[in-house]
């Protein structure tokens, strides 16, 4: 059993917008039985029927858009790494999606949304995906809710592979991926959207579509992974000076970023979890923040380096998107431009910062998802004007005279989250390092992971053609 019924909407005055609040302070399992047992309610009134289907159809389609992000991540990561590792990075993204969905179905979803509270909401556990065949009820069907959540889980997992690209053993990737999707991310979910302690605070946390819950989880885990691995061979000179290792395909990077941009219109507007009139302003703010992030990163990078780097602009687009993911429901339209733009600025400096620390992140995942995700979550404390159901009140932002309490909560949220993810992910990577080993051999790294991990190069040659293997770059 799981608590999807908490997401059921309530169509009277107080309104659909409050649906998420219901979740807090409700005996989850009890409510489930109640709603499930009376599906007839939904059938009697013909008008809600269309709305019911519409809600589910839209969230399913939003989930499809979010799954499409997997292709975007795969391309961005492939493009920013070398061609000799291109099969490996594509395989990882394929597996994040495939194995990740299974792991989340079997273990993670139950932890995140299952009934049966342990330790007062800090943990919870339930088995698997029972109940998802149901086709009656109100609000989101279990199948719809799981579909959408599974797409998010795949996203969280996939972020890590970018930062750890070009040097991680495939078997070890499998191990860490499993634990992140089946345990670390679900526990974060439990605490937050699962109605756990962060949702039960007097001033509850606010993170509409998951700047922290999804993106920073991936970002901070990515950071621990990159630290545990160490930089790629030759990435830093003996003098400590960074020596860039250019990615092998900028068109892949930009195409990937554009696909992510498209997918985000499922990610953010879909997080409304209903087909209602709030979806469109959310979409609009998502659009403007993305645009602003790309322009800001490009402009700053142009000023700093004299030439605007294309992959930095793409990172800026994504930073704008990550930044607005948390505050998108609560801020005014103009604020989305500002928040996206700040995201774009941050990403430029953050990438340079981690480079100086010699934490080698080929795709900028730590900066885009970890740092900017955290910033986006905090921005709510300043810019929040509207109630997005999480917030539960208007004018909560400091700029609207909202006081420090939301800032305080948001700080607790991002700090606890940072500590939890870095500690658990750090332990995980250390454990793998000791047992399976985390990093491929120097020779394999030099030759490329494609041949040694997967059997043949990602860009094959024609044996009956010129007959010689293309040198692998």
């Amino acid at each position: 059993m799981f608590s999807h019924e908490s997401w059921v909407c309530d169509d009277d005055s107080g309104g659909r917008r409050l649906k998420r609040k219901l979740l807090i302070g409700t005996a989850l399992a009890a409510a489930l039985v109640l709603v499930m047992a009376s599906p007839a309610l939904a059938q009697e009134d013909p008008a809600p029927a269309a709305q019911f289907v519409l809600d589910n159809l839209w969230i399913f389609l939003a989930g499809v858009l979010v799954f499409f992000m997997q292709a975007g991540f795969a391309l961005v990561e492939a493009g920013l790494t070398r061609s000799k590792n291109v099969s490996n990075i594509m395989m990882k993204n394929l597996m994040d999606m495939s194995a990740g969905v299974l792991a989340f179905a079997l273990v993670g979803f139950g932890i995140a949304f299952g009934g049966g509270e342990l330790l007062g909401g800090w943990f919870g556990f339930d088995i698997g995906i029972a109940g998802v065949e149901q086709t009656e009820g109100e609000g989101l069907l279990p199948a719809t809710f799981f579909f959408f959540q599974a797409a998010f889980a795949a996203t969280a997992a996939t972020i890590v592979s970018g930062a750890m690209a070009e040097r991680t053993k495939f078997v070890s990737y499998f191990a860490y991926s499993f634990f992140i999707t089946a345990l670390i991310y679900p526990i974060v979910l439990r605490w937050t959207w699962g109605g756990g302690w962060l949702a039960q605070l007097d001033v509850p946390f606010s993170d509409f579509a998951g700047s922290t819950i999804v993106h920073a989880t991936g970002g901070w885990a990515a950071m621990m992974g990159a630290i545990a691995l160490g930089p790629r061979l030759g990435r830093y000179g003996k003098d400590g000076k960074p020596r860039p290792i250019p990615g092998h395909s900028i068109p892949f990077v930009v195409l990937g970023a554009m696909i992510l941009f498209i997918g985000w219109f499922g990610f953010n507007p879909g997080s409304e979890l209903a087909a209602d009139e709030f979806v469109m302003p959310i979409a609009l703010k998502t659009l403007l923040a993305a645009a602003s992030g790309a322009v800001a990163a490009m402009a700053l990078n142009w000023l700093k380096d004299g030439r605007p780097d294309v992959s930095i602009a793409a990172n800026g687009l994504l930073a704008g998107l990550v930044a607005i993911t948390a505050p998108v429901g609560t801020v005014e339209t103009w604020a989305s431009v500002v928040i996206g733009g700040i995201g774009g600025v941050i990403v430029v400096y953050s990438i340079a910062f981690f480079d100086r620390l010699q934490i080698d992140d080929p795709v900028g995942a730590i900066s885009v998802h970890g740092v900017v995700g955290t910033f986006g979550t905090l921005s709510i404390a300043f810019f929040a004007k509207y109630d997005d159901a999480f917030l539960g009140r208007e004018d909560a932002g400091l700029f609207y005279g909202g006081g420090l309490d939301q800032l305080w909560t948001q700080l607790i949220f991002v700090i606890v989250h940072f500590v939890f993810v870095t500690v658990t992910a750090g332990a995980l990577f250390m454990a793998i390092k000791r047992t399976l080993g985390l990093r491929v051999s120097e020779e394999e790294e030099r030759e490329g992971l494609d041949v040694l991990e997967h059997g043949s190069p990602g860009y094959g040659h024609d044996p009956s053609g010129p007959g010689i293997p293309s040198s692998r770059t």
Binding site: P463, S464, G465, P466, G467, I468
Partner: protein
Amino acid sequence: MLHLVTAVIQPFRLEVVKDALRDAGAAGMTVTEVSGFGRQGSHTETYRGAEYEVDFVPKLKIEILCTADESERVADLIVEAARTGKIGDGKVWIAPIGQAIRIRTGELGTEAV
């Protein structure tokens, strides 16, 4: 005394040439993708409704370092294996080499091959 036998061949003959040389006991060779211009002439390609000439055709260049007395046989082997009888089969030429060294061991001359 060493020789360097260089051959420019049709790419799809490489496998046959390689096998012939290996069977004859050749120790090694170095192959380069090259573009050839010769009697084979140009061909016409079209792109978006316009024509253009392509003068160069893909070839492979094979270089084999060997002792002076082996070089003729190596050249003959290549000629035999690479021949299709059509224009564009390519050329083999032999150049004198003053010295050779195996990097791994520092062996010199015929030892290095």
